[in-house]
Symmetry: C2
């Protein structure tokens, strides 16, 4: 029997908690500990068996962790923490600022390579599984178009934007893909779609005391970049309704490649996610790719890597022979 893959978690928010859950579903892994910048005594895990350590002590764990899963945010945490940790550990992260991926890749590569470590970045579903499907789609059907729709799902960035509006006490925003647009894409007609045609937005808002609903609504729907280019509905609800009906973090979406082969034959490939919990699913993807990261490192593949570089078989605890027999 192979020794278990020893996992560490850096950062314990929704994503870190999801990783703890996903490791518990993986018999070939064990969770060594959670590392936090908070007071460890203030962090309570789902499992009482797993210790919590100060992030500042993490360098003492180099011999005890095979892969460190970085659960911080892309904006403030990962740009600094990613390269620092990649010099000490094999790492996996969910860096999702699409525009700066090349720069982040370079920083990780520079840190990980000389240390003989493997740093797998931008793992999750977008970037991640959706990226894979965009790639498979255009490589197999080079003549065609790729469409990505997101939702129905809670968008963190847009929820934050709603909450910054004066008069808003609390609130959430859902991104909703437009079914008529998806149907047109599915039909193979290769439509040109505007931003407004692809998605609409729904906000559930708790008003601050004394705030005027119509003013708040107007401020939201006319907000540039976030809402002005979309059809946006604003619903006013109570704090209790917000807690009761909007605490889950569902998300999902679809990547469609519509292409033509031969003399104009329509071929459509569609990849859909319906996620009860966005952070738990992202965490599940991170954990499967942590397995692959450990194997890549064992094979001597070091430096920065992405999901595009990872052979699918490396994700599974099964042997290549089992996979050929059972899954091909």
């Amino acid at each position: 029997m192979q020794p278990k893959i020893r996992i560490g978690i850096a950062g314990y928010g929704n994503l870190g908690r999801g990783v703890e859950m996903a490791v518990a579903q993986s018999p070939d892994m064990e969770l060594v500990g959670v590392f936090t910048r908070r007071d460890p005594a203030s962090v309570s895990l789902l499992s009482a068996q797993v210790p919590v350590y100060p992030q500042a002590d993490i360098s003492q764990f180099q011999d005890r962790i095979d892969v460190l899963i970085l659960c911080g945010g892309s904006k403030d945490d990962l740009p600094v923490q990613g390269p620092a940790m990649a010099a000490l550990f094999n790492t996996v992260d969910s860096f999702d600022t699409h525009a700066t991926i090349p720069e982040y890749y370079a920083a990780l590569d520079e840190a990980a390579k000389p240390a003989g470590k493997t740093a797998l970045l931008s793992v999750g579903w977008d970037p991640g599984l959706f990226s894979l499907n965009r790639l498979y789609g255009e490589a197999i059907l080079p003549v065609g178009e790729t469409y990505t729709f997101w939702g129905k799902g809670l968008s963190q960035g847009h929820s934050d934007a709603v909450r910054r509006v004066p008069g808003v006490k609390a609130g959430v925003q859902y991104t909703i893909p437009a079914e008529p647009a998806i149907e047109r894409v599915r039909s193979g007609e290769l439509p040109q779609l505007t931003t407004r045609e692809k998605h609409r937005r729904e906000c559930y808002v708790v008003l601050a005391e004394g705030a005027e609903a119509s003013e708040v609504e107007q401020a939201i729907v006319s907000m540039p970049h976030y809402f002005a280019d979309y059809d946006t509905a604003v619903h006013f609800i109570s704090e209790e309704e917000l807690r009761r009906d909007h605490a889950a973090m569902p998300h999902g979406g679809v990547v469609i490649r519509s292409g033509t082969s031969g003399a104009g034959t329509t071929q459509v490939v569609e990849y859909t996610l319906k996620l009860g919990s966005n952070p738990e699913f992202t965490a599940a993807v991170l954990v499967a790719y942590a397995r692959a990261t450990w194997r890549l490192n064992q094979q001597g593949v070091v430096g920065a890597q992405t999901v595009l570089d990872v052979a699918p078989g490396l994700l599974s605890p099964k042997s290549p022979a089992e996979l050929r027999k059972e899954l091909l």
Copy 2:
């Protein structure tokens, strides 16, 4: 600029013709020739520029072909042709007899490895892209079930079975997935489904002169293995209708992984193909994987390989840096 990847096609039926079309859509490839066991003069390609050679002469082309795409059948052609060609060329094939894949893999590996060649087997959509999705699904959501539905599509094996029934002059069979069953799977309820609940079958039959429709229908619907376990409808049509309405070879299907994360959160991943032409799409997959096969061989990865061993990025003509920038 990289030199073009030089492709050969062995066998020119529907699949070989699809490969010719797909290579024409790939600017980084050129088609060296088609090899046939028929009289080359009797084979007319879509492009007049591509020469046709006797299969018997193929060993003279070892220095002129980078990857040979094998377009023969899994039953009679590939078990012999696969290993023979893998000793001479890098090869890609669509071997799809699921039960004997391990044996065929071993035969290819034994032939290809000492020759320093790469032999990629069982490429297409099932086995192939569906296999990948079964793998990603169970690796990411280890607690759950995987469901595969096929169709609506023309099934070659079942069409052959219909045509062997006495009194049948000609005919085709479509496999049709049951929408109510798919809806149950999508909902996350993890149903146990019988064969009859998953698919139904529709036959379009031209009667031979003097044949009795009711007898033919009874012989079809009661045929063990092929039809007895399904709800099967038999429609009698004219030869002209068969030619006019049933000449296309559409197919498709869906792989669904329904799993739970954390404390029972439902997560559903769905991969759907709607194919205007089964052979043209299978050919498109073969051609993308021919690119990967050539690169693997250049990297020194020799012997038998499957889609599970191929990093997604190897399928694309774009560079890793371009892929990271554009697709992640």
